[in-house]
């Protein structure tokens, strides 16, 4: 499972994409837990969103191997 990282998330993970090879999270909520555990700095930034297949996804959304997952920190375009 590949997780795309943008903005501050890329700085925290020090990577454009993070790869989870086995026992990947099965929901957005599990992904958030995984990120908190693996990168404690995620506790220090404002709430971020998660996109699944380029749509904002709620915490209870299930995710699978082939989904395109992205961490979306607070947007600041314009």
């Amino acid at each position: 499972m590949i997780i795309k990282c943008f903005g501050i998330a890329k700085d925290i993970t020090e990577s454009k994409d993070i790869v989870i090879n086995d026992q990947h999270p099965e929901s957005v909520a599990e992904l958030r837990s995984f990120l908190r555990d693996s990168y404690p700095s995620f506790n220090k930034i404002p709430e971020y969103m998660v996109a699944v297949n380029m749509e904002y996804a709620p915490d209870d959304q299930l995710i699978s191997e082939n989904d395109v997952i992205a961490i979306i920190p607070p947007v600041s375009g314009g």
Partner: protein, 140 residues
Amino acid sequence: MKTSEIYIGDNDLSIDKAYAFINDNSSGGNCIFIGTARDINKGKMVEKLFFESYEAMAKNEIDKIIKHCFDLYDIKKIGIYHRTGTVNLGDKAVIIAVSSKHRDAAFQACRFAIDKLKENVPIWKKEYLDDGSYWVGSRP
């Protein structure tokens, strides 16, 4: 014909090109918003900006905004253009251009589009200040 145009990328944005896209003999009102890099934000001197986008999703989200604009307002054409990469002071970061028969719809749709873009579109701005660089809205 109701048409729209989206650009996200590193090239300079052109107001002329945006206007050429929206200009239409059936439209009398045209509203263009241009967001530029400002020298001071929250009391801090800004040296330059850097924008990163999740381009494919950003285009999807902008497309939703455009569909909303066509649903909500009687407009003819809309173009939304956003710079990525380094944007120097005074340079254009975003252009929203809208044409419509009457001015009311053009103003409202243009305002709606920039407000929604700032809320929902996955684009991130990094400010370079004299004490370092920070992602706006994400400062730990």
